[in-house]
Amino acid sequence: MRRDSGVDLYTQGLDSLGKDCLRDEAEESGTFEQRFQTRVDAEEKIEPKDWMPEAYRRTLIRQISQHAHSEIVGMLPEGNWITRAPSLLRKTILIAKVQDEGGHGAYLYSATETLGVSRDELIGQLLEGKAKYSSIFNYPTPTWADVGAIGWLVDGAAIMNQVPLCRCSYGPYARAMVRICKEESFHQRQGYEIMMRLSRGTTAQKDMAQQALNRWWWPSLMMFGPSDAESKHSAQSMRWKIKRFSNDELRQKFVDYTVPQAEFLGLTIPDPDLRRDEAAQHYRFGTIDWNEFEQVLKGHGPCNRERLEARRRAHDEGRWVRDAAIAHAAKQAARKNSRAA
């Protein structure tokens, strides 16, 4: 089964290139195209004012905006625990983390704007349900340990995906990723520390940590997107140096990195097929339930509806505020003009 190219999320978005884009490609001038590819091959950065193939621009818009949406929607599952964080230090760290994600969103929307699409337009697409965001954020956070598991696994997987993007051929995206990756690695460490405290804590805390790992392990592996055999646009993205590693390579790297961490915590990865392959120096893992992945993508995950509703509510209830800000700015400008006249 081939997966639709709409399967472009957050970090999963690395395959993104619509069929429509391929058509335009042919129409573009060969010389420009060649010069562009030569620059990309030489690891030069492409900047907003530079010529670029229309398909490259559209791929980037889709990928970066999906990444931005994921940051914004991603504020919700953890934000859920701000008011109940179990210590003032944890509350501080959590607010700062959720705030960072909002900052990432704003920063990435700005990067997308350099490609000629406004933030308002992109947010409109998200609220109308036309844009994708990482499916991982459609899972619930019923306990405090879910906050730890998200930091450890979800931010951990995001780092695996995003570190190579720091060398992305498109300058503004690459620079945004440098800054974002620094913060994500903070988040990952803080999440791991939560898990550490829990797994060294009371029986109830340890149990809470294990349950959260059980909930987040498989969705985290799904964050890397469909397997290479199913992923049809990787080659072009690789050639454009938007993508550097395949989904399966990154997924394997994540598993190799994370399994020893789980062992150190004394927690069990919920995969009976997980085993060490000494010869290959890898951990081999069981089969991912791609059906679940598809279902969550199609909107049938546990929290898809709630997440979008929360974003829509914030947007709708904030309209009068945004309108007032615009009206006030206009009045200010008018008053200034009439004084000047």
Partner: protein
């Protein structure tokens, strides 16, 4: 409880409960910038609360930590101003509440710079810088909303009418305040009124807002007598911590 400790707890709890209220907004604000802005203010207030709670714990001398004080006290032991426990309402009501408190905290921290208690003076020195920024943020929004559209004007004027009666408490000097003022530790509550009134009036004028008349009844949150809202704030804030007695996080 000795007045010194009670006084520090009043300031601490006011910051803590307001931080808690602002935390409810994060992820749900009218624009990303406001998610970030409200989170910033919340974080600063939380930082103030943590320093002050730790200090109150030391003054009390019973070995209670910031978390013991935040998570294991009962509603009647919280000494925050009643104003900060009021629900967020819409963004306008949050802005009005924030503005009224920011202007008060700025007066307070400025005067605490001169405190004979070096610890309080030190905390105030950090807090005063943060509070100036908070006031710029809330005053900026109050002017935008007051001056913006008919709807926004009506909403913030309404919020002001609702919250104004809760400001009386901030300036009514009681026994604790008197002792604190006599010891040179902090200003008498009423001493903050002239500066606060002047700041508030200036921004109201710019925001085209009318200050309601002060109503005679004053709340007494700083004496542990609260509105109906604090119980719910604490029930939520303390739930997980209390469900696992003695656990570390």
């Amino acid at each position: 409880m000795m007045p010194h400790c009670a006084y520090v707890l009043r300031i601490a709890d006011t910051s803590l409960i307001l931080a808690q209220r602002l935390g409810e907004w994060v992820g749900h604000a009218p624009a990303i910038e406001e998610d970030l802005g409200l989170a910033n203010v919340s974080l600063d207030l939380l930082g103030q609360a943590r320093m002050l709670l730790s200090y109150a714990g030391e003054l009390e001398g019973r070995g209670r930590s910031e978390d013991d004080l935040a998570y294991l006290r009962e509603e009647s032991e919280f000494l925050n101003a009643t104003l900060v426990e009021q629900p967020n309402g819409d963004f306008g009501q949050t802005v009005v509440r924030q503005f009224l408190v920011d202007a008060w905290q700025l007066e307070l921290y400025e005067q605490l710079l001169e405190s004979k208690d070096p610890r309080l003076a030190e905390i105030a020195a950090k807090a005063v810088k943060e509070t100036r920024y908070h006031l710029r943020y809330s005053a900026g929004w109050l002017v935008r909303l007051g001056d913006g559209t008919d709807e926004s004007h009506a909403r913030v004027q309404d919020a002001l009418t609702r919250l104004w009666p809760l400001t009386g408490e901030l300036f009514s000097t009681d026994e604790v305040d008197r002792e604190i003022a006599q010891a040179g530790i902090g200003p008498a509550a009423e001493a903050l009124l002239p500066g606060w009134s002047a700041r508030v009036a200036a921004v109201f004028a710019e925001a085209r807002l009318a200050a309601p008349v002060m109503s005679p009844f004053s709340w007494h949150g700083k004496q542990g007598r609260h509105s109906e809202h604090l119980g719910f704030v604490l029930a939520e804030m303390q739930s997980l911590h209390r469900a696992h007695p003695g656990a570390t996080w």
